[in-house]
């Protein structure tokens, strides 16, 4: 029942045929190809789809296009005038308000509507206007700044470069705006769901409606008969190989072959001419299950006779860790004081604003996958394994990605199913998760049940520590084997712990699988540890700062679990955060209901070992190799090609920018190393055909590992270029240096020439000027015990966070006022980006501390699979954040850099809990710390 309507979009009259149930959002995106407007929830909560209707902001996902005739609609594409950005757009770029960019168009539209009406808005007014726009990356700090100071920022011709005090470097240390910010602020950046390929079909998945059962019969005939349906597939149509993350625990089929194990498990899939038809078809598929008993509770799952999820995991125990370093019995004997406490975490989810999306395109002899992924190489590897074909016959393209946080760090059902459907139909098949499916699929944080025991001397010096953790893993392994190790291995990296015992059990239940989420496995144990340490300080009347200081990790320290800490400025993060915040004057001194709290954290700068063992080749081609204590292949690889006229360098590296900014950091490192201004390096990181392997955005690894590879590639370029330049200048190559677009002699001031000139000459005489570089972590990282690889890293970051907040004693409501955070990230390659990561982490993790919680009912169904009831913090909940960087240099990192992205989340939970204790006198040990729990605890205690 199509009808023609005429819409006024960005000043143009556009006539389109729509069905009455088509939303304005779908018309803008699908019919008018204005894909700048995004879809993040489809239910009016996230604001990604914000457009202006007659000058007012509206959520286009909740408007019917048929109702819009005669209205003036403005989308993000309508803000530019003849290629000139509007003031707000400029301001967003220059202030660093853009990370993954998925929220950006909506944010900008809200900001634009506000500024058009009130050019000098107060902070409160801005927060009101932007309250309906969620951002998962930035913590809103720079967005607020962008809108508040839009005039100042937009008048800057050149973006302001707040120089960091690094005199040695020309590019490293500068707060440059993101290289891709312009594309993101104009709506030009193409995310996977924005891409349209010729003949493209749309796929959808039928999910299990029961938590545990055997599939008896599936009848797809009615679905297949529906006009517009091109293929319907079920378990028998997918390969017999299982997949997953960690080879010993591959336990998932592309579609369920026999059993379903959680509400949401993949049962069948459809490809059709459009999403609506595919969804209709799903309703016509009949599935008959034999329902099996299900188990949802970690402890019940381990009992004798509990329903078993997988034969291969007896008692539903998926992974067991029993680590003992030193001698805890002796350590506890030496202690003057021992405290034991239990803590419970929460199920939280990465909830990137961009839902997962893939386009499978199986052509003759070549499989092309577009995927919103953090780990193109691991997806590539997994496709090769599941479909049993050489890596060389597969190409993985990672378009712009709208946030990941770990959720996109593994191969998704969409990646695999879209390929199967494409093979069957001969057409590219696009598949995009709805927000609800994002929750059904999950792979969020494990809920951890933690018991900890800490022994200290009278002065607070740690003598022994014991930790016992049960992780609720859900129905499949996903990253879980790594998670359970991380939950133990990161604890001894922050304080010197002589004796340490860790018992970890990852348990399977009939819920969606949990996976890797920013800080992987470590935020909840760190929360528990920091709380326990602060409790001991309370009970022994010790100063929490002093106790941390005396136990503090130091540079060049070998931990009890055989990790090698190199650079470490933990103590500086602690002392500077304390000083900046006035912690010592405030702690225990604020009025009732006001509190301040402190906690620390740290993380790896890249995992020491790859996720799969052995060489880069198809799994089926090789026997499983024994573990060797070294990298088998380089984790990061880069190529730099200089344009033939010598003016531009193009960097090729398959590192995944998912919003964290590697597409900016890596070219900056290349520019520094080449001796070129920052704007003379471009990057191509999106296509496996073009760019060599980098393992991707996980374990906070790209700056250090990718950066080193890039730096070496640049050095390789110079090694080829300098002899040519030396000949032209009549000097020896050894005395040459390159900086800021020039090559000059170190010895003779008169000898200098333009970089481009030398490079042009090089091409004329020798053909293309190309350099390559790679990085492998050092050999021999870690101990020799089982699981010793998890937690190994070339370098470690450290940080301290201090939180000040108010608690309304009558309702339990928490109002977070301010955060101070100091991070040891080594050299900050781009300080603005470092602060952006910290701000985002503070807000994300404060939300996890206070309100984020996936709640399941007694049928294993998620009660809140939407962003209205799974609560992310909005700009109105955001505290003021001070982010500081301590002076630090890491020998193993490029120009001394290490990590910030994941580590910044680690101290936050503990700092919030401590501040709430300071404000109210009560410790809440189970997350999230909701108003209701606080009020209950207050009633019980007074």
């Amino acid at each position: 029942m199509y009808r023609l309507i005429t819409l006024n979009v960005n000043g143009d009259l556009r006539t389109v045929a729509v069905k009455p149930n088509t939303t304005l959002l779908d018309v803008i995106r699908d019919k008018l190809d204005l894909t700048g407007t995004k879809k993040g929830c489809g239910l009016g909560v996230c604001g990604a789809c914000t457009v202006l209707v007659d000058g007012e902001t509206m959520s286009s996902c909740l408007l019917l296009a048929a109702n819009m005739e005669g209205k003036c609609i403005t989308t993000i594409e309508g803000l530019e005038e003849k290629g000139k950005l509007s003031a707000v757009q400029k301001s967003f770029i220059h202030s660093g308000a853009i990370q993954c960019g998925y929220c950006t168009p909506g944010m900008v539209m809200s900001a634009k509507a506000l500024i058009d009406k009130s050019p000098n808005p107060t902070e409160a007014v801005i927060k009101e206007a932007l309250g309906g726009n969620l951002c998962r990356c930035t913590g809103y700090v720079k967005i607020l700044d962008a809108v508040k100071n839009w005039k100042t920022y937009s008048e800057l011709d050149e973006p302001e470069m707040k120089e960091y005090d690094l005199e040695d470097y020309k590019v490293v240390g500068k707060s440059l705006p993101r290289y891709d910010a312009r594309d993101k602020v104009t709506g030009r950046a193409k995310y996977t769901a924005d891409i349209v390929l010729p003949k493209m079909l749309h796929g959808k998945i039928l999910h299990s409606t029961i938590p545990h059962g055997r599939i008896i019969r599936i009848d797809t005939s009615r679905a297949e008969a529906l006009p517009g349906v091109k293929a319907v597939i079920i378990g028998k149509d997918v390969p017999d190989r299982q997949y997953g993350v960690s080879p010993p625990r591959y336990d998932e089929y592309v579609l369920a072959k026999d059993n379903v194990r959680y509400v949401g498990d993949e049962v069948a899939a459809v490809a059709a001419i459009d999403e609506e038809t595919a969804e209709r078809a799903l309703e016509l598929i009949e599935v008959e299950y034999e329902e099996l008993p299900a188990v949802f509770d970690v402890y019940k799952a381990m009992e004798e006779g509990a329903p078993l999820l997988h034969e291969r995991y007896p008692n539903n125990i998926n992974t067991s860790v029993d680590h003992h370093f030193g001698d805890v019995d002796r350590g506890f004997q030496e202690a003057d004081y021992i405290k034991e406490e239990s803590f419970t975490g929460n199920f939280t989810q990465q909830a990137p604003l961009e839902p997962h999306a893939s386009i499978g395109d199986w052509q003759d002899g070549l499989l092309i996958l577009h995927s919103a992924t953090q780990v193109p190489h691991y997806v590539h590897y997994m496709l090769a394994n599941v479909f049993d074909m050489p890596l060389g016959k597969i190409k993985v393209i990672r378009p712009t990605v709208g946030g990941g946080f770990g959720g996109k760090a593994e191969t998704t059902p969409l990646d695999l199913i879209s390929c199967v459907l494409s093979k069957k139909t001969g057409c590219p098949v696009k598949m995009v998760y709805s927000r609800k499916e994002m929750f059904l699929h999950n792979r969020g944080r494990h809920k951890q049940y933690i018991k900890m025991k800490l022994g200290v001397k009278r002065n607070g010096e740690i003598t022994a520590f014991e930790s016992k953790i049960f992780l609720d893993g859900g129905a499949y392994t996903s990253f879980g084997i790594v998670t359970v190790y991380y939950a133990g291995s990161m604890i001894p990296t922050l304080y010197k712990i002589p004796n340490y015992k860790y018992t970890g059990r990852r348990v399977m239940t009939n819920k969606p699988a949990c996976g890797a989420f920013r800080g992987h496995g470590s935020p909840q144990p760190r929360f528990a540890f920091e709380c326990l340490l602060n409790m001991i300080c309370d009970e022994l009347s010790l100063n929490p700062v002093e106790v941390r200081r005396i136990n503090s990790m130091e540079a060049d320290y070998h931990t009890c679990n055989d990790l090698d800490i190199r650079s470490c400025r933990y103590k500086e993060t602690l002392l500077q955060a304390v000083e900046e915040s006035g912690f010592s004057e405030k702690y225990g001194q604020l009025n009732d209901g006001h509190g301040i709290g402190l906690a620390s954290g740290g993380f790896v700068s890249g995992a020491g070992y790859t996720i799969y063992r052995g060489q880069v080749q198809q799994h089926s081609q090789k026997p499983r190799e024994p573990f060797q204590k070294k990298s088998i292949f380089p984790h990061a690889n880069a190529i730099i090609k200089i344009s033939e006229d010598g003016t531009q360098a193009v960097l090729f590296i398959g590192a995944a920018d998912i919003g964290q900014g590697s597409d900016t950091i890596l070219p900056m490192i290349a520019a520094e190393a080449l001796g070129l201004p920052a704007d003379r390096v471009r990057i191509r990181s999106e296509d496996s055909d073009i760019s060599p392997i980098d393992l991707g955005a996980y374990s906070s690894r790209i700056t250090l590992m990718g950066g080193n590879a890039v730096k070496r590639a640049a050095e390789d370029v110079l090694a080829k270029l300098f002899p040519v330049a030396a000949r032209l200048m009549n000097c020896s190559p050894e005395e040459l240096k390159a900086s800021d677009g020039f090559i000059f002699s170190d010895k003779d001031d008169t000898k200098s020439m333009e970089w481009a000139e030398a490079a042009r000459k090089y091409f004329n005489d020798n053909s293309s000027l190309i350099g390559t570089g790679w990085y492998k972590p050092p050999e021999g990282l870690g101990g020799d015990y089982k699981g010793a690889t998890v937690g190994t890293s070339p370098a470690y970051s450290f940080s301290t966070a201090i939180c000040e907040l108010n608690v309304d004693i009558s309702t339990g409501k928490v109002d977070v006022k301010k955060f101070w955070d100091y991070h040891d990230c080594g050299t900050p390659v781009n300080p603005m980006s470092v602060h952006g990561q910290v701000e985002g982490a503070v807000v994300m993790t404060t939300g996890e501390a206070l309100m984020e919680d996936m709640v399941y009912n007694d049928r294993g169904e998620l009660v809140n699979p939407n962003l209205h009831e799974y609560l992310l913090m909005t700009i109105k909940d955001t505290p003021e954040i001070f982010s500081g960087i301590v002076d630090s240099y890491e020998e193993e990192g490029p120009y001394g850099a290490k990590e910030v992205g994941e580590g910044a989340t680690v101290p936050i939970l503990g700092a919030v809990a401590h501040a709430i204790k300071d404000a109210t006198g009560v410790w809440i040990t189970d997350l999230p710390i909701t108003p209701e729990k606080i009020l209950k605890a207050l009633k019980e205690n007074y």
Binding site: N21, G131, M873, E932
Partner: protein, 290 residues
């Protein structure tokens, strides 16, 4: 969303007859912020939508004497920002401003907020406290229904098939009277009420002449806490009195437990919000306050 047919009549009569014709197969769409969420999630199934967008006369806020008439299609933001409303019933503006987000407030309407009859809806408590009524038309005839008689269950109202809510009428609030709306929510924006209270107090001399306490999100419908309200009449205001009234209101509340809060917690919130709103309402009724 399933397929449906959308009708855009340009007069009320036309809209009513379409609604009559298609009966349970049809729904009115105003802003659509409630309805489309339901349709997208397949919570309801219908095959016809009757849009009110082209009907004139439903989009204005007018005054007749001290009475305010708000057209059903007036948006939530227009309510929040209306000077006319602010002057007479600021609590309604505050309630509207506390809702959803700027985007949703630009789309959603006052009529939709009332007619959807969601127990946690923000506008009904203040309207009940103000003694407002709605005007309902069937095309042929009009009827006037007090807000207090409008709801009879979650998502259930007195609207019959073929009827449209056209206006909300707020009577003169009178002198020495104040109405305060308090809402407890779990985050700054896009958060539904966990519990809410609208309190009305009229003072005479140093006595409270009468009071009314309306509770939201703690019963199948927005409810007047009758016993608590009665406790106010003729009393000398005091901390103690307000405390007891708040306790009584909490006792009258009939909340359920859900993802936003347990039954017990909601009762506690009602007590806190009632006390706060009484304090503020009294202060304002006696000329103090903001």
């Amino acid at each position: 969303m399933r397929d449906f047919i959308i009708h855009e009549p340009d007069n009320i009569g036309g809209a009513c007859s379409l609604l009559l014709e298609f009966g349970t197969q049809a729904r009115i769409i105003a802003g659509g912020t409630d309805l489309l969420v339901d349709l997208k999630q397949h919570n309801i199934e219908i095959s016809h939508l009757v849009s009110l967008a082209k009907i004139g006369g439903l989009k204005s806020i007018t005054t007749i004497g001290d009475e305010i008439r708000i057209g059903a299609l007036v948006s939530l933001n227009e309510v929040a920002e209306s000077l006319t409303v602010k002057k007479r019933l600021r609590a309604l503006c505050k309630a509207a401003a506390s809702m959803a987000s700027k985007q949703i407030r630009n789309q959603g309407t006052i009529g939709g907020n009332i007619a959807s009859a969601v127990p946690s809806a923000d506008l009904p408590p203040a309207l009940l406290a103000a003694g407002a009524h709605v005007i309902i038309t069937s095309g042929e005839s009009e009827r006037k229904v007090p807000m207090s008689n409008f709801f009879y269950g979650p998502r259930k109202t007195v609207l019959a098939v073929g009827e449209i809510l056209t206006q909300v009428v707020i009577p003169s609030i009178g002198k020495k009277t104040a109405i305060i709306y308090k809402k407890f929510k779990l985050r700054g924006a896009n958060a539904l009420a966990v519990a809410s209270v609208a309190t009305r107090i009229t003072v005479a001399g140093n006595l409270i002449k009468e009071g009314r306490i309306v509770l939201g999100a703690v019963a199948p419908v927005p409810m007047i806490a009758e016993l608590a309200s009665e406790m106010l009449a003729g009393q000398i205001p005091s901390h103690n009195l307000f405390f007891r009234v708040a306790e009584a209101a909490a006792a009258e509340a009939k909340p359920i437990s859900d993802i936003r809060g347990s039954r017990e917690y909601r009762k506690e919130l009602i007590q806190v919000l009632t006390k706060q709103s009484l304090d503020e309402a009294f202060k304002r009724a006696t000329g103090g306050g903001d």
